[in-house]
Symmetry: C2
Subunit: 369 residues, 2 copies
């Protein structure tokens, strides 16, 4: 695939860490929430191997926050998601699909409950803030909605506990998955969650002070030498293997949450009021006719810049692969695909054209690992 430079502008926002990652050798960017998000450093495969063995520091400022606060904030946040948040607790993170009036997906943020009347939605790549503003205005909710100046640094990889405890103390090891708390370092207090866009374990540091974040960035690298720390970013291969779904890649506003395997986060029997509840009830009754599945393809390369069609022997459409990459672990291409019924069973076979040749693949369960 030919390389095309990205034309920088204020509209594709830089982050407080951009100068640092460019000095460290970021080798490609994507754009995410109107912001630069690094996509590779040494190479997808070298980054992947390193992430699975050591520890990386990521500039994921592009995971923007939508802050919703005020008297009706809990009502508004609940209205946006099919996940029942009525028993949600301060200090916890909730992965939650956002749904529109048609029962279609708008985003899949992690919702951080900061207080009974203050929430941060840590969003995927769509303008959730305008959905929230529209809903709030239409419902006359008493809320304040804004994008705070929060620029996340993620520390990811099997050695992330070691690096983080060296800076923030042993007690950070007690932080449970999808919990957050506040930790001190050099007279600054940081909101830190045990979370992140990899399956290798790690933390996300929600930095509110740019200068403190830049200093912390440098300290992480100074203190991480003994753990072979490197700059990194969400890794395409690792996130596909771990089935960490990406809004805009694997699902979008034409898909419903059942098709995207969000069943565990759809609480149709709850008392709470959310958008699209009736539509989702009907979809649930009728049953879906396609869903996201894993695919393995017997080939060693694939370029993805739009979805690719999967066929059966009679050229019927089996589905569409939406994300894919060569996996050094499986020694073949792995991907996430929207597969039609009845082709969606594990081990069902299909064909796919890559660079004008036909290859064979099979449907499999997610995640791969």
């Amino acid at each position: 695939m030919k390389n095309f430079p990205i034309a920088k502008s204020r509209r594709l926002r830089s982050t407080p860490y951009t100068d640092r990652i460019e000095a460290q050798g970021v080798s490609s960017y994507t754009v995410y929430n109107h912001m630069l998000l690094p996509a590779s450093f040494k190479s997808l495969e070298a980054d992947y191997q390193h992430l699975k063995n050591y520890v990386q520091v990521w500039d994921v400022a592009a995971e923007r926050q939508v802050e919703i606060s005020g008297k009706d904030s809990a009502k508004l946040v609940q209205l946006m998601t099919c996940r029942d948040l009525s028993k949600s607790k301060v200090g916890k993170c909730y992965y939650a699909p956002l749904i529109d009036n048609e029962g279609l997906l708008i985003n899949d943020p992690i919702i951080n409950k900061l207080a009974e009347d203050k929430w941060w939605l840590s969003i995927a790549d769509s303008d959730v803030i305008f959905f929230a503003k529209g809903l709030a205005a239409g419902n006359n909710f008493e809320v304040e909605i804004k994008e705070p100046n929060v620029n996340i640094l993620a520390v990811q990889g099997p050695l992330s506990n070691d690096l983080m405890s060296k800076l923030f103390g042993e007690k950070i090891k007690q932080l449970k998955f999808f919990n957050f708390s506040y930790f001190d370092f050099k007279n600054n207090k940081y909101f830190i969650a045990r979370s992140g866009w990899s399956k290798q374990g790690g933390f996300e540091i929600y930095v509110e002070n740019d200068k403190a974040g830049q200093d912390l960035y440098d300290y992480l690298f100074e203190n991480g030498k003994e753990f072979n720390v490197r700059p990194g970013c969400p890794n395409l291969i690792e996130r596909i293997e771990g089935a960490l779904l990406s809004y805009g890649n694997d699902f979008d506003n034409r898909d419903n949450p059942f098709e995207a395997n969000f069943d565990n986060f759809i609480n149709l029997d709850s008392e709470v009021n959310f958008l699209g509840k009736d539509k989702l009830r009907k979809i649930n009754q009728d049953g879906i006719t396609r869903k996201l599945r894993g695919v393995k393809i017997d080939h060693n390369t694939i370029d993805m810049y739009c979805e690719k069609t999967l066929f059966d022997d009679n050229n019927n459409i089996v589905g569409y692969v939406r994300s894919a990459a060569y996996s050094p672990t499986f020694k073949q291409v792995v991907g996430i695909a929207m597969i039609n019924k009845p082709y969606w069973n594990t081990k069902d076979q299909f064909k796919i054209e890559i660079n004008e040749k036909i290859y064979v693949g099979t449907v499999c369960d997610l995640p791969f690992i």
Copy 2:
């Protein structure tokens, strides 16, 4: 400025014309409405000179449409903009700032009125569809809201009348600025507006059939040889000189429409109901303390990837330049800047640091040309 390749993925959507522009030598991309938008071909300056003298065909599919239809569609569209649309007519295009409940800008689309109950908002770079969906749900409006499969081809430049009339007939020359109508070519009907993101004159063809659009693209180049047609794209230099504002670059959701010089499109005395009306009345009464102005800087280069601060002799902040480029016409850097009162008068001077040196600039009127 160092070049960084863009990491392509389904999330950064390709267009029906992507294969063609890549074969023709697109040399950089930006991302706009989650879609690839070409940013240069030969070079910014070569593209600029050509655009001002001949005719170009642009892949501006990234100007996505938000289609709002149904019984309450006019009410919803009006609610979103401070421009009075009560006397709007089918067949006309309306440039209209979208405003949130706080009186802040959300987008600046061209609103095409297709019927009394059907509208296409041809949007700048933010997810207006989710703002509309939120408002519709909150107000229980009877509307349908979707992003139709429309991929705009723009034909821009002083020879655009010649090229377009060669394909669509002489009557297309009668189409007035910011009007649209339907024109036939080879058994396909095309929605064509006299509009576009340049001040050189031209048309935007709202293509609904991918294959027909690709064929049309090829016909435009075949028939355009005698007019020295080339592929092109919205040109940074030309659009700054013409003061064609860019959401995310020159203004964003922290700015109000008075600050962004939208005074002619703010109808506070109208009877119509729109969001933020009371806030805008108050802003209007209190008066603004900063606004967008032109700036000229005595230097021959500038790299913009975030706003740059402007100072006076005592290091007080004069404002922030948000878009800028070297202009071959003015032989200096021209830009669009948010300038604080009282530094905003024409010919007021300021200082700016570019590549660690200090240069002098002056405030001027917009547009430059």
